[in-house]
């Protein structure tokens, strides 16, 4: 009896000791987005030093706008990656959504809001189909979404030429509802003399909602679980299929918002666009600390990743460097960010 008691006391004492060792600073280091945050600060200071214009409100609003167009998608893609899946069709799905809205309203001469509504259905549908095929076939999401990517690329080009007779969608700026749709998806808000694009606010709102869902709702718990260990999740009664399909549909929803922005900001949509953008969203999520294997990450991390992307993209211009170098920096940043994430995560877990 005495022995047991001693054992228990030593054990609990040891456990407490271990807990006490983790300082708030180390806890902060354990957060998924910390690597990205450090990177973002370094990059911000760097561009602020080399280019005086970078920190001016107008220029900064432009940086934020650039970040938001990546960031809106990065929200959905981050959640999907935490859920353990991957979507290569996002870049062209954005264009598909924009084309649907534009071509439908134009061809049937309806109010553009009808097209916008249909585009939402199409975007959610693409997400649903991706998720459904994935869950049915149990193929890797890389393959399934690569197939969707190719099919959508073809459909975008083919249908646009078939219906509109060109490679770009016809102009819809004179149609009913264009003004109001533009106000919702592509207007600017004047804050203290600086025009801030509405996408920035949509982006921030989406990040807030996604973070809340992830950290404070049952669904958030399920997202972490299906990404961390789908079998374990299934065994304790988590609806794995529904969660994953829902995540793909979430990506579709984000794609719809961005697609509508593209449409109403530029009036016409080039049907061949969007190819390659899917990687930008994935890069933003990865820089933000989402694990490629799933089960770990945050929506805020994805947002910081998108912000880093926006800063590098516009910062190079403000620093008056040749933008040719941008891709090189992007690649370098991706590599550094993932290595930092890896090291930070390992150290935090060890301590």
């Amino acid at each position: 009896m005495t022995i047991t008691q001693t054992q228990t006391t030593t054990k609990s004492a040891a456990a407490d000791e271990r807990v006490a060792k983790r300082s708030p600073f180390q806890k902060l280091l354990g957060r998924p987005e910390i690597g990205a945050l450090v990177g973002a600060i370094v990059l911000f200071v760097f561009f602020a030093l080399v280019s005086p214009t970078f920190t001016q409100p107008n220029a900064f609003a432009t940086v934020l706008y650039g970040s938001s167009t990546i960031g809106i998608m990065a929200v959905g893609v981050s959640l999907l990656m935490i859920g353990g899946e991957f979507d290569l069709s996002t870049g062209v799905a954005v264009i598909s959504s924009a084309l649907t809205a534009s071509m439908f309203s134009w061809y049937f001469s309806t109010n553009v809001w009808v097209g916008v509504g249909l585009a939402l259905l199409v975007s959610l549908g693409i997400g649903y189909i991706n998720g459904w095929i994935l869950m049915k076939t149990k193929l890797p999401s890389f393959i399934v979404t690569l197939a969707t990517f190719l099919m959508l690329t073809g459909l975008n080009l083919g249908l646009t030429r078939l219906i509109g007779g060109g490679v770009a969608s016809p102009s819809i700026s004179n149609m009913d509802g264009f003004g109001s749709a533009r106000a919702v998806f592509a207007s600017s808000v004047n804050i203290a003399g600086v025009d801030v694009k509405i996408t920035v606010f949509i982006w921030i709102a989406l990040v807030a909602v996604a973070t809340w869902v992830l950290m404070r709702t049952r669904v958030g718990n399920w997202i972490f679980a299906v990404g961390g260990d789908a079998n374990a999740a299934r065994a304790v009664g988590v609806p794995v299929k529904a969660t994953k399909i829902g995540l793909f549909m979430g990506v579709g929803f984000c794609g719809w918002i961005l697609g509508m922005h593209n449409l109403f900001a530029f009036d016409t949509v080039q049907s061949g666009e969007g190819v390659g953008n899917e990687f930008l969203y994935i890069i933003a999520a990865v820089i933000g600390g989402c694990l490629l294997t799933g089960g770990y990450g945050s929506a805020i991390g994805g947002a910081i990743g998108a912000f880093i992307f926006g800063m590098a993209n516009k910062g190079i211009v403000y620093a008056q460097w040749n933008p040719d170098w941008f891709k090189f920096f992007l690649g370098l940043m991706l590599l550094l960010a993932t290595i930092v994430n890896l090291i930070v995560k390992r150290r935090a877990e060890l301590k």
Partner: protein, 305 residues
């Protein structure tokens, strides 16, 4: 929890329940079998589980232990015999079905998500919520509090339920999984080789949790290949070999030595001795194995050639 009112002693003697006139076990299997294509994974298994009793399923690798628990846990469906819960015939189509009637399984891999905090794992799939409609959220504070309390009751004192469950030791993780099942009102707790990957001391800790779960009135199915772990905690023992039941004993009818001997398989040992002899050379090994065979024959009262 109707089952609490049923007298265990009557049940153990397999007598009729006074109300229903049928022997009611919490869970019972009658001649259950399962085949995958032309491979017979399990055939004719009969066993019973009661409140506050531990039924041990013993068998070597490939004996059909996993198939058996998968049937009880609802991951697979049996295709022969009957599975009764509280005397009512059932066939589970999903793990959720089994969970709904109170059958919880603690798998070998524990069904925990290593990167997730302990409290999230504890409530995974059955989260507590507050609020309505789109503002329905998890009651995080309450969940953390309950996790801490439930684990403390199991004898694990954690201060930080935020740490990833992957950081806990194997025994502690086992304990979290058991505590989770107990908290969520499991009536039958299936433990799939909980001591397989653990050291001696950790195994002792887990065995103590099994007894705690039993004392709380749960029916426990303890799957193991170690008779030394099974005997001290078990009330009934089902021995499996090559998908068949080779014995089903109450504790009063079997000793640890007999159990070990049955498990060790005297026939296999005798065969091994023959083979080694034929190969020649390994004189000392042959002698040792033969000694073992003699021991086994002595305890089981059978002779092996």
């Amino acid at each position: 929890m109707n089952a609490n009112e049923i007298n265990q002693q009557t049940l153990l003697q397999n007598e009729a329940d006074p109300l229903t006139h049928t022997p009611v076990h919490l869970l019972s299997l009658e001649g259950v079998g399962k085949h995958y294509g032309n491979i017979i994974a399990l055939s004719d298994v009969t066993m019973a589980v009661d409140n506050g009793r531990v039924t041990c399923v013993l068998g070597d690798n490939g004996a059909g232990k996993s198939t058996l628990i998968k049937i009880i846990a609802g991951l697979h469906q049996h295709d022969a015999g009957t599975l009764n819960v509280m005397g009512e015939e059932r066939k589970f189509t999903s793990p959720r079905d089994a969970l709904d009637v109170g059958i919880a399984t603690v798998y070998q891999d524990l069904a925990v998500v290593p990167l997730m905090p302990i409290w999230r794992n504890f409530f995974l799939g059955s989260e507590l919520t507050s609020g309505f409609g789109p503002f329905k959220r998890m009651d995080v504070e309450k969940m953390k509090e309950i996790t801490l309390k439930e684990l403390a009751q199991m004898g694990i004192d954690l201060r930080d339920v935020e740490q990833p469950i992957g950081q806990l030791s194997g025994g502690e993780r086992q304990c979290v999984a058991i505590a989770r099942a107990v908290y969520f009102g499991a009536k039958v707790l299936i433990l799939d080789e909980p001591t397989a990957a653990l050291g001696v001391k950790q195994s002792g800790v887990v065995l103590r949790y099994i007894l705690q779960a039993r004392d709380r009135g749960l029916g426990v199915i303890f799957i193991t290949h170690n008779p030394h772990h099974a005997y001290p905690v078990g009330d009934r023992f089902l021995l499996l070999k090559r998908g068949k039941s080779i014995g089903y004993y109450d504790k009063k009818d079997i000793t640890l030595d007999e159990l070990t001997a049955q498990m060790a398989g005297g026939a296999e040992l005798a065969e091994l001795a023959h083979e080694l002899e034929q190969l020649g050379g390994h004189g000392d090994v042959v002698k040792e194995v033969k000694g073992e065979v003699a021991d086994v024959s002595q305890t089981t009262g059978k002779t092996y050639q």
